[in-house]
């Protein structure tokens, strides 16, 4: 699992920026400097990735380490594509179904845990939540064994199943905390209007769930796409490797030229990066989805 799966969402900052912008101070330029410096440091790896990936073989030595390419070329990219595209396809075949199933499950579970509670609902929630924090190494051996014994088809299906199961805690968390913000009297009104559980979910809760679905889907997609641990333990046949494992494999050897390494890294990260750039707002909202505030 990548960092996204490991770090639970954080609470939401409520002040609007504009409110604060009015309060200027002498400190502001210093602040900006600091923020900008850190931003540069944060973006530095991106610069390296981009710049190196477009260089020709001759330019990737120490002397030209940081300079822009004198001639931009797509060679590395083409190579990276050749090597990784089948694995990218695997990743899509993994991430999309797993994400879809995962968020639907999360929505139903979150609904029950927050709005259609039963005695011991909080205990069950804690019980589920713990599953998010365990080191997955602790279950890898028996998991493989279990899959073998149960004759689960090898390859991507095993990964999909694993991600759906281990995604239960985090999706339940996201939806539960989101649904907690829906006023209870809305559901009481539905009760008075003679709605049962499924009707309440379908007509009242589901239409209001869009933000949580987006957040959960982005979170899960990113986690699943970026996962390495599950993939490397559960998928033995290189043909079925998702792109993270393939990436690590092709670039692990020291003879792989840097431009290919960088291009491959970028290529493999493209989908999640795109999701972040286009839907980053929701990504952040997911990060701050009022979860474990501590």
């Amino acid at each position: 699992m990548s960092t996204t799966s490991a770090a639970p969402p954080a609470p939401l900052p409520i002040r609007s920026r504009r409110w604060f912008a009015r309060r200027g101070s002498r400190v502001a330029p210093l602040k900006y400097l600091g923020l900008l410096l850190v931003a540069i440091v944060v973006l530095m790896p991106v610069y390296v990735l981009l710049v190196t990936s477009f260089k020709t073989l001759t330019e990737i030595d120490a002397a030209h380490a940081w300079s822009l390419p004198s001639s931009w070329t797509l060679d590395a990219w083409r190579q990276a594509w050749d090597e990784l595209s089948p694995n990218m396809a695997n990743s899509f075949k993994l991430a999309i179904p797993a994400t879809l199933i995962s968020v639907v499950l999360g929505s139903l579970n979150g609904f029950v845990l927050s709005k259609w509670r039963f005695p011991g609902a909080d205990v069950v929630f804690t019980f589920l939540l713990f599953g998010m924090f365990i080191p997955y190494q602790a279950v890898m051996i028996p998991l493989t064994q279990l899959f073998d014994d149960a004759n689960v088809p090898t390859g991507i299906p095993r990964l999909v199943f694993a991600h759906v199961v281990y995604g239960i805690p985090i999706t339940a968390l996201i939806f539960r905390n989101y649904y907690a913000t829906i006023p209870d009297d809305l559901l009481e009104a539905a009760r008075m209007d003679r709605a049962g559980m499924f009707r309440t979910y379908w007509s009242i809760i589901l239409p209001l769930s869009a933000p949580a679905f987006v957040v959960a889907a982005i979170w899960q997609f990113t986690s699943i796409w970026n996962d390495f641990l599950f993939a490397v333990f559960l998928i033995t046949d290189p043909v079925s490797w998702p792109v993270t494992v393939a990436l690590n494999n092709t670039t692990g050897s020291l003879v792989t030229p840097f431009n290919l390494q960088m291009a491959a890294a970028l290529l493999a990260s493209l989908p999640t990066l795109l999701v972040y750039i286009l839907l980053g707002r929701y990504f952040m909202r997911g990060l701050m989805a009022g979860a474990l505030k501590g």
């Binding site: 006023p183 009297d185 809305l186 009760r191 008075m192 209007d193």
Partner: protein, 396 residues
């Protein structure tokens, strides 16, 4: 429409807290009964038990003669108007109102017709395609009512439906809700903490305190004959003036010694109130501000002379506050009794001592703090209360 009978209804929570203690009421068909009391008195809990949103710990609930304790809320044929309206945010006004009908699988044409009719009745037919967030508070309130009305239930339950509205709008809506209820003739239970709402709207008013029913009667009776100190202090604004007094033997009759003044009690009055048994005892006396007038004639019986400490000019009325040299009741003034605020009788800035009284004056009187006034009251207008039980004293 149906009558509601509540018998020894109680609600106890898991932590032992008793929100409602043995409530017994009979609400006639078509009646509008107001449950009123300070926050935490159990009125909303009682309402929710009738609705089926809360389980009944003990006691019985009958609606239309049928025992409803174990009947799920959706089968009770009750409609509820929530304090915060609880409108479905993603549905239009029409969909909000028609939701329950749709769930009852009524034909679409019927649903549309009934929704339109209800909307017309509540003057919101131009808003049918809007979403709740596009509506003002008053409009949302009407949609919430519409949702209840369209169902033509046997009972309406209303949980402080006006408390989120602007004050002026509240006054107007009060009358409209009452007219609507009279027109539809549906048995209604209305919960509020505002005693003015209770007095103006209810056919009868039920006053609750800490889960216990204090009194249930018509507004006028509750006002004129409060059953105990709490009701006396709660109903009526400004609140009733309360003080300790002595009932004394005065010749062959009785008199009430209220601080510096003493009034004789006419024989019929003494008989009607059963004051004979109180001769020589301490009693709590109450007099409403509007029953204390500035002395006109020269009669000095029942006169309270004092210096005005504060004046409130409200336009239509003029209130004057002054200290009277009497002891307040042991449980405190009306405000202290009703709110439970122990510091209600400890003025922020020290006064001249005694008990603060309030009287109404002629609206255009030039009254200033520091002015000396003499107020008088009619002994018939006095209320008497037992200092130990706080119950009103009557010959019964």
């Amino acid at each position: 429409m149906a009558e509601i009978v509540v018998n020894e209804l109680s609600k106890r929570y898991a932590n032992g807290f008793e929100a409602v203690k043995g409530l017994s009421l009979e609400i006639a068909e078509g009646e509008l009964l107001v449950l009123v009391g300070p926050s935490g008195c159990g009125k909303t809990t009682a309402l929710r038990m009738i609705a089926g949103l809360e389980d009944i710990t003990s006691g019985d609930l009958y609606i239309g003669g049928r025992r409803m304790n174990d009947v799920p809320e959706k089968d009770r044929d009750i409609a509820m108007v929530f304090q915060n309206y609880a409108l479905y945010p993603h549905m239009t006004v029409a969909q909000n109102i028609g939701f329950s009908l749709k769930l009852s699988k009524r034909p679409r044409r019927e649903v549309r017709e009934r929704v339109r009719e209800t909307a017309r009745l509540l003057a919101i037919d131009s808003l049918l395609d809007r979403r709740p967030k596009q509506l003002s508070g008053g409009q949302r309130q009407r949609v919430a009512m519409g949702r209840a009305v369209v169902r033509e239930p046997q009972v309406f339950l209303m949980d402080e439906p006006l408390s989120n509205l602007d004050a002026k709008l509240r006054v107007q809506m009060r009358g409209e809700i009452e007219s609507l209820q009279k027109r539809l003739g549906v048995t209604t239970v209305y919960v509020t903490h505002d005693q003015v709402e209770a007095m103006t709207m209810g056919d009868r008013v039920a006053v609750l305190r800490d889960g216990l029913l204090q009194q249930v009667d018509t507004p006028t009776n509750v006002y004129d004959r409060p059953a105990n100190l709490f009701v006396a202090g709660f109903i009526g604004s400004p609140p009733m003036n309360l003080a300790q007094a002595q009932v004394e033997q005065d010749g062959d009759g009785l008199a009430v010694a209220l601080g510096p003044t003493k009034v004789r009690v006419p024989r019929e009055l003494a008989a009607a109130r059963g004051l004979a048994t109180w001769a020589g005892k301490s009693v709590i006396v109450g007099i409403r501000p509007e029953d204390l007038h500035e002395r006109r004639n020269g009669r000095s019986e029942g006169a309270l002379r004092a210096e005005i400490e504060r004046v409130e000019a409200l336009g239509a009325t003029l209130l004057g506050y002054f200290s009277v040299d009497v002891e307040p009741p042991p449980t405190g003034s009306a405000v202290a009794v009703v709110t439970g605020e122990t510091l209600a009788d400890a003025p922020l800035v020290g006064s001249t001592g005694g008990t603060m009284f309030c009287a109404t004056f002629e609206p255009r009187t030039a009254l200033r703090p520091g002015a000396s006034v003499e107020t008088t009251f009619d002994v018939e207008r006095l209320h008497f209360f037992d200092p130990d039980t706080e119950a009103a004293v009557w010959a019964e």
